[in-house]
């Protein structure tokens, strides 16, 4: 699971991590997550596919402090090759307490900025994400049984 140590420059004068940084941590976790699945976001961009953020949502539950280490758990909530919704859970490493939860929605664009379907544009990556999406949801169904 992705780990991030909260930095001094990420704090604000409230004495805690500034809320905008969690959006950046979501990005860190997302790129790590794709990497673990065998998808290099760097290579994807080099091949002319970018995946901009369409929507972002975050819920601040507990305040993370300088020096704390958080772990970020992720899942694919929706995926059809054209759009993708990712879920995030930021937990305090020591206590396991959920500090923040979030969601981001993405599409896929080619070099000209035109939306593409990964199924055609990058079938291998499509397969990986679809398999992971199904896995994420199977786990959820089990939890809900």
């Amino acid at each position: 699971m992705y780990e991030h140590k909260a930095q001094y420059y990420e704090t604000d004068q409230m004495g805690v991590i500034h809320h905008s940084n969690y959006i950046r941590w979501m990005e860190e976790a997302r790129i790590y997550y794709l990497d673990q699945l065998g998808i290099s976001y760097k290579r994807l961009e080099e091949e002319g596919i970018i995946s901009p953020v369409l929507e972002v949502y975050g819920k601040y539950r507990q305040m993370v402090q300088f020096g704390d280490t958080v772990q970020i758990d992720m899942e694919i909530r929706q995926f059809n090759g054209i759009k993708m919704t990712l879920g995030y859970k930021v937990m305090d490493k020591e206590s396991g307490i959920v500090m923040f939860s979030g969601e981001s929605k993405h599409c896929f664009l080619n070099a000209k900025g035109i939306p593409v379907s990964l199924k055609k544009a990058a079938p291998k990556i499509y397969d990986i994400l679809m398999a992971e999406y199904k896995l994420s949801n199977k786990e959820k169904d089990k939890e809900n049984e």
Copy 2:
């Protein structure tokens, strides 16, 4: 209306403003907005009241580029002295096109981190925000007529 000129350091290698910065612009606009209403967030903090972000949401409609100036329109969507929901519309200054829209939810804490009602803790600020809240919604009702 609040204006922000998109800075070079706010761009990313996609060639546009990085999505996390809109969350910071929301904060800039929020503090300016309160200031226009006669509420100094700085003084509020010095008096021992902070207003952390509980939730944040953003929808990215168009990509803002380095050098563009945006205008940020705001409104109070919900307010009862204990919680407050603010709405944001980030528009390109030149074209008026809405580039991003967002929402943030806040509560009010005292110096000990305990939630307070502004009605008791800061009645003058409560009155200002309540009046503005009613005004925001009256305008909306008119638009919807």
Copy 3:
């Protein structure tokens, strides 16, 4: 003169503006300064010339706080078309006190990343910067007389 209002998200838990942000303010002031001279950094990049930072130096004299407005005075300390040294003075708008002073060194690269002389690559911009450089130093000589 360039003005910047210190933002909440620029503070750290020391209760003042985090030191890294002054480096960003230097960039803001630099782009504004060039703009005032009739040089759009955006257009320059679009024409295939970038001007990366080679060295940066900053001296922190007083701590800027959230809500303070600073003014940033600039000058060209050295310029020969190949390299350029810029000087910065960040002052508190209200008191005029110098809070920070800095310096940045730059070169000019073409689209292939190869150093170029502005005299050949962009003679009009060369002329503007050379004139400003001479003016900056004439003023200094007068001060020192």
Copy 4:
């Protein structure tokens, strides 16, 4: 040695890491370095001692790109209990090439913002830093022999 993976949000539209982030990486490395020496900067602050940056200098040698991992080597260049100068070398992990070198100068302040000597205010920390300072310079002398 401290390691940092260059993040997407740290890039700018030049397609490389924005220069201001190296100043932040210096802070990351500094806090890690102190930690390795047995000095928790967090605890130091809680005990009422802060160590603000007085001066900062950076030289950009090669451009770090998104996804690259850098290693940051540090040393104490000067230390007398009242002021401290730290040196930084940011290297590409894979190639070992020095991408950036920097320096930061610090003092020590008590809770009232008054400069203190660590020798009196925090003798144990003084001893650790003085020993490390001597070690840093002994190594250097050997290199120069």
